[in-house]
Symmetry: C2
């Protein structure tokens, strides 16, 4: 892994992901579960939990890199547009800088929907495990 390396993946926010997140974390806020509430707030459907994207980030770091010897140090995300059940989300990450002496890598990443609209973006810092 080196500076400017780019990684791409895609994720589907299907029923299994939505129900899995709901059942694991019990966030039944009406924005995420009540279509009438979501509509009153100006959304066409219930809005998926933003933190589903953080689960996808876990998968990317844990399974999507050339090495498995990694641990997340910190991460940040900002949410720009809502996403909905059955959306297919494209993910792109790029290594912004590397501190080889301590095995620390800084990525920036973005999630976009099928209309190429920005859903969320952020940064993630990982460390190689010795």
């Amino acid at each position: 892994m080196k500076k400017d390396d780019v990684f791409q993946d895609s994720f589907e926010v299907n029923e299994a992901v939505y129900q899995g997140f709901l059942n694991t974390f019990n966030d039944h806020n009406p924005l995420h579960t009540n279509p009438d509430f979501a509509e009153k707030k100006g959304f066409p459907h219930v809005v998926m939990h933003g933190n589903i994207l953080n689960g996808f980030l876990s998968y990317f770091i844990g399974e999507g890199l050339p090495t498995k010897d990694v641990m997340i140090i910190s991460q940040a995300i900002s949410f720009h547009n809502p996403f909905y059940l059955n959306d297919k989300i494209a993910f792109t990450a790029k290594i912004k800088d590397v501190t080889a002496s301590v095995g620390v890598y800084n990525f920036k990443y973005r999630f976009t929907n099928e209309a190429n609209k920005l859903i969320a973006k952020g940064t993630i810092q990982i460390k190689l495990l010795a």
Copy 2:
């Protein structure tokens, strides 16, 4: 909700949460699933996924505030110590500032384990839904 308000909760990282996260997001990195690997890397047990804490944050924002009319704008987390299966994690959040004109609230939060060790801390920004 006003500046300096404090919220507290606790979460158990039990088998249902661990398996729910694994099955939802498929991050089977050996640090999280292979006790021998975790031990070789210097940990007493498999390390739980840091992003489980982001699921707990979703629950806090979605279900733990005095209002349900909220949406997350951004969040950040830094991981300070690993946590393990069956750990009981205490959560504290405090409102750092409020921009009432736009309904934006900034929280800082921390997760600690039963030994009062810092597991993770960060910030989260939410907006009230009109």
